[in-house]
Symmetry: C2
Subunit: 431 residues, 2 copies
């Protein structure tokens, strides 16, 4: 990345629509856009909102510097008048939305963007890129966390997804309850705890497995995690305890028939006196294999491909729609397309989660053009007149999102935690 | 992104392995690492290599500045000696590999990285992130290009994938034969042609559909593409031709039962005298729906989610393995792990594509530790002693990759173009 501007993470049509609206004099009409999903990814029971803290930072960085303007001019993307407008652009409107880490359902108005058409339309691509990917990861990760039933999970999928998305995925998985990531940039940028073991190449570099284990223990101490499946697992486990002693932190198994193998390794470690040594497994896990290992003495999981690719649903299907705008007389008009199979209600939404007397969520209630407060209000102010709420940013915002996800998931009824495909755990009701 | 260094797009274990190897004195052993895939994503018939040009740039930017070193020091990731080594790091080894745009098969050694263990191991995560994602997109996109049978395709999926991956996806789809992208950053960074139409919000902004069409035609000329499914399609088509005249560039249809609707719109346009006006469709297309539209008078396709998410296979499953290294006496030793289900041949590979007398590819032949030349040699020099081959970089490298993909795909036998799941079109033979 040679520029820190995010302004060209944008579909060309956003800028040509702006250009046409400026020529027609309609670009200044006050508008309300909303981001929502028509369904949950993978016919899951609930979704988790993620990406908001990243997005707010990227909206602040959405500026057209000389580098962007020069290229747009060279390519004749928009007129000179529009280039001049873009040169001064910064978003000065307001954004309300679901708190990062919040549970969502089909139709939940995750983000409500208020501003002129011009200001709000050109953020469409960036908003959807961030929310669609990060929420897909968090939604998948949250199921893995439930399936792990209290055992810690580490996100290790950086190598299976684009290098920047890897950072976003590590952050989203952490928000969804993962304990740590292998990704160093996620540690630096977002305060996600980082962890790591060793690769097979480290063992293969050395003349013997013993030499490799000794090198690792010498550098990282006996509390390290030794990878024991480069050659024969049981030989390696014996060697690992011999080299590190019974205080060895953990062994990692990355292949083989896990239920049987893990049980055998547990017995072997116990027989060697390494009763505190943990077992971590990392072999192409997803929520289903994690659930299947519940009765097996695994201590922690490392999850790669499945979490960073949303476990079969890599995009959450969120859309960004104009739902209300003023006409030439300054009157607000609720608007919606009527395209076959893609219709949605117009008008600004005010969402609530309705809880029963025991505190269990029973309904996603969405008021249209009405602020009635018969449930837990789901919208918070994310940006006000162009100023970002600081609480949502950086490592502190990421940690707050993680805490909020835990609280929001705790409200869900038991059926929300089924791993099978099915209906959303709550009905969405437009009131 | 606040730093232009790519050095922390890295799993923590790469640096702790380096730390341990430095302490053991094994970090300087000359090594050969190879990147390859054990199988093709989605049981497809062939894969397309993409990401190489991006990767070479990112390897050049893989430098530990004070910002990275300070964070690594604060977090105690590695020892002081290792931090000092990282401060001077730049890759000085050599990389051979498949040309970007090349066809690949299971076991194809896509990249061969030669350098000290220390130099080569810390690039693992970055190399795999880039190749795994970009090749997944190119592999899916190449099938869509074949399915479209000569009709142009535009990549429009930026909003369905992380904002940086969107740029990589646009580039990879272009290499695989797509004609254009909606993504402006891909235009600026990689010279991919950009295009766009308009969104439903543009129509909804205006008091009437006619006002919206007129605004767009006034700004962009009659050769623009008008979106005709915000309300009733046939009403909108009539209006579009009324506003733009029979020279209207195209209409876009984003919903509905496409085969029937497109045929009806074609008849309507012809009846209105707009016989040159094209029809573009964009409704959740993938290689299968594109193939199903062959007999329908569509002129071009816009593809979103499916191409940027690898159409069901968002990661190509590539791995980076140590295959050969020197021992303490300077002797080369071929190495390989023996993990259950994950074994692969050790030793440096020299791949060839064997063609029959008619020029059709019949075998992926991989010589191990032998440079016999009984086919089209697949490796080219990508970096030599730390210096990148300029031909692979930037817009020119991207265009060259697109041209190479076209030539490489033309060698494939007919069975390579089947869309069904199945065996690779060529057998991989280790010779």
């Amino acid at each position: 990345m040679r520029s820190t501007s995010t302004a060209l993470f944008t579909d060309r049509y956003e800028l040509t629509m702006l250009d046409a609206a400026m020529k027609a004099g309609t670009h200044d009409r006050p508008c309300v856009f909303e981001a929502f999903a028509r369904r949950l990814p993978g016919a899951r029971r609930y979704g988790i909102v993620a990406g908001t803290g990243r997005l707010l930072q990227e909206i602040a960085d959405f500026r057209f510097t000389d580098a962007e303007l020069g290229w747009l001019s060279d390519e004749n993307v928009v007129s000179k008048a529009t280039l001049e407008w873009l040169a001064d652009y910064r978003f000065t409107g307001s954004i309300h939305g679901y708190r990062e880490g919040e549970v969502y359902f089909p139709g939940s108005p995750l983000l409500v963007v208020e501003g002129s058409f011009a200001e709000a339309v050109i953020l469409e691509t960036l908003i959807l890129s961030v929310l669609n990917y990060d929420s897909a990861v968090a939604t998948a990760a949250s199921r893995m966390v439930s399936a792990a039933n209290g055992r810690p999970l580490a996100e290790m999928g950086s190598r299976r997804v684009g290098e920047h998305s890897a950072v976003a995925a590590a952050r989203a998985a952490y928000i969804a309850g993962f304990a740590a990531t292998s990704n160093l940039e996620a540690g630096r940028s977002w305060g996600v705890p980082t962890m790591g073991t060793a690769a097979h190449s480290f063992t293969l570099l050395h003349d013997t497995e013993e030499q490799a284990f000794r090198a690792q223990v010498d550098a990282l101490g006996p509390e390290t995690t030794l990878l024991v499946d480069t050659y024969d697992v049981h030989t390696a486990v014996a060697l690992a305890v011999k080299v590190a002693g019974p205080k060895l932190g953990a062994v990692r198994i990355d292949s083989g028939d896990l239920p049987e193998l893990v049980a055998a390794v547990r017995r072997q470690l116990d027989d060697l006196g390494a009763t505190e040594t943990k077992i971590t497994v990392t072999n192409d896990l997803d929520e289903f294999t994690i659930a299947a290992l519940r009765a097996v003495p695994v201590d922690s999981y490392g999850v790669g491909t499945s979490v960073v690719t949303g476990s079969g649903s890599p995009a959450s299907g969120m859309v960004y729609k104009l739902v209300s705008r003023q006409d030439a007389d300054g009157e607000w008009v609720a608007v919606a397309k009527t395209s076959v199979g893609k219709a949605s209600p117009g008008g600004r939404k005010f969402p609530l989660r309705v809880l029963d007397a025991s505190g269990t969520a029973v309904e996603e209630r969405i008021h249209v053009e009405s602020t009635e407060a018969d449930g837990r209000a789901l919208h918070v102010a994310l940006m006000t007149d162009g100023v970002t709420g600081a609480a949502h940013l950086g490592a502190a915002g990421t940690k707050a999102a993680r805490d909020h996800r835990e609280a929001a998931v705790a409200e869900l009824p038991a059926e929300a935690f089924r791993l099978s495909r099915g209906d959303p755990a709550l009905p969405t009701v437009f009131a």
